[in-house]
Amino acid sequence: MIRRILPHPLLSLFVALIWMLLVNRFAWGSLLFALALGVIIPIVTASYWPDRARIRNPLAIAGYVVIVLHDIIKANIDVAKIVLFKPSRDLQPAWLVVPLEITTPEAIAVLMGTITLTPGTVSCDLAEDGSALLVHALHCPDPESTIDEMKTRYEARLKEIFL
């Protein structure tokens, strides 16, 4: 019964929150409408999204976000240095193949997003059976350690967050 009314509780919460942020000032009427939208939209779109993201450890998400923001700032400065000061002939672009241990689509999607958001690496493709990621790196003299860092820094944490 509860599954029929709320197929995706997290999505409902997210939709309601986004609507409240769009309205930009608090009013009880808007809150009611936001909750109504949060119930209706997941029901209407349920057939496009049969699976649920199962989250084991919600507190770990905050830690993950902090780490990613820190890495974005650090990598941005590194890439800015490369773009401004490194001549093109010294550049060592590389294709990296990152073998994956996480299997759920949500976790892989978050990992791909993280890899692209940290400048210097762009995730380009996924193997057909979801066992590896193809990543392009702007300047990568040591592919092994870059792959290792991605696996220990992001994938290990995602494995704890997603079931």
Partner: protein, 134 residues
Amino acid sequence: MSILGEILIAALLVSGGVFGLVGAWGLVRLPDMMTRLHGPTKAATLGVGSVLIASMLHFWLHHGVLSWHELLITIFVLITSPITGLFIAKAHMHLSWQQGELPRPPSGVEWCTYGRGAENSPIVTVDGPEKPCE
């Protein structure tokens, strides 16, 4: 409004401008398409992000209204820029990379761009007719 807040906003604006400019310069300067893809991710994340946060702080400190729209736009840009990056990379690989020029995945299958399509992929299971919504 305190002088400290003004300095913070100014610092955010300046750093946002610098990163946006460096991203665009990377787009012009870098030698080939795959390396050029790295420029805009920088402009999108830190450049636009810090300008939006500066705007949020400015309206809060100057006008006394806490505006959530900037936060919403920041999150939206942060979520969508990896997706556009991935799509452009895939379109580029589809157009101008041969399969043999890329490293192979370790398990012996192909990359999705060169594969058999979503309907025949090993991870997508289509069992019978589509289930009705519960």
